[in-house]
Symmetry: C2
Subunit: 131 residues, 2 copies
């Protein structure tokens, strides 16, 4: 069921455009927060810290949606619906630095003792967009 | 259970800051899209067209979450979780124009024949934020 991100909207992942990631709470209600993301050609990848609400929600139920607006054109946006196909600690600190360079221009400066970065890979299944 | 938006974050509703509204699909998956919104002191209000996916989802299950970033400070955001307390056609066209003036500086210019504006009032129940 995996589908590639439509070609004409891939530039959204090259820009420091925040994604708003919706997950599901234990009772099925939605939760949504801004996240950094990138696209590796197959998965949309986000990074979070172990034990956060997002992490708990994604471990329990991998069904997600995310919405990204073009910061240079408010009429352009992409919604991706999909599911988590991988949760990994491997390379997750380097991934966090890579996202930080994209969004802030520098390696991630806010690490606290005990923080454990985690990379989630999300397989896109459905899109809505305006372009 | 209704809670007022924290005072120090109300300015987000005075700015043309898009909200990303998460709703639930029939099978319980999340859906999320950018929307215009305002705050009337009690409810967060959004506007949509009759028959849209958002409208169908909100009629079936009024549990929502929305996330708003400060366009002037990417470290500042607010997440609101809550539920629909009203769906109304009354005043909905004027509400759409009011939102359009806030976000585009002009009355809503994209009406198409057959479009029916609908105002949804969302009662806030829970917040997460960074300020």
């Amino acid at each position: 069921m995996s589908k590639p991100i439509p070609e004409q909207l891939r530039d959204l992942f090259d820009k420091p455009a925040l994604a708003h990631l919706a997950t599901l709470m234990p009772d099925g209600r939605p939760q949504v927060t801004p996240v950094w993301c990138d696209y590796d050609g197959r998965s949309v990848r986000i990074n979070t810290s172990a034990g956060r609400q997002k992490d708990k929600n994604l471990m329990r139920d991998g069904r997600v949606a995310l919405s990204i607006c073009d910061p240079d054109n408010p009429d352009r946006y992409l919604e991706v619906r999909g599911r988590v196909i991988e949760r990994t600690l491997e390379g997750a600190e380097a991934h966090l630095d890579s996202l930080s360079r994209k969004y802030m221009g520098t390696d991630y400066p806010y690490r606290r003792p005990g923080d454990q970065a985690i990379t989630y890979c999300i397989e896109p299944e459905h899109f809505t967009f305006m372009d």
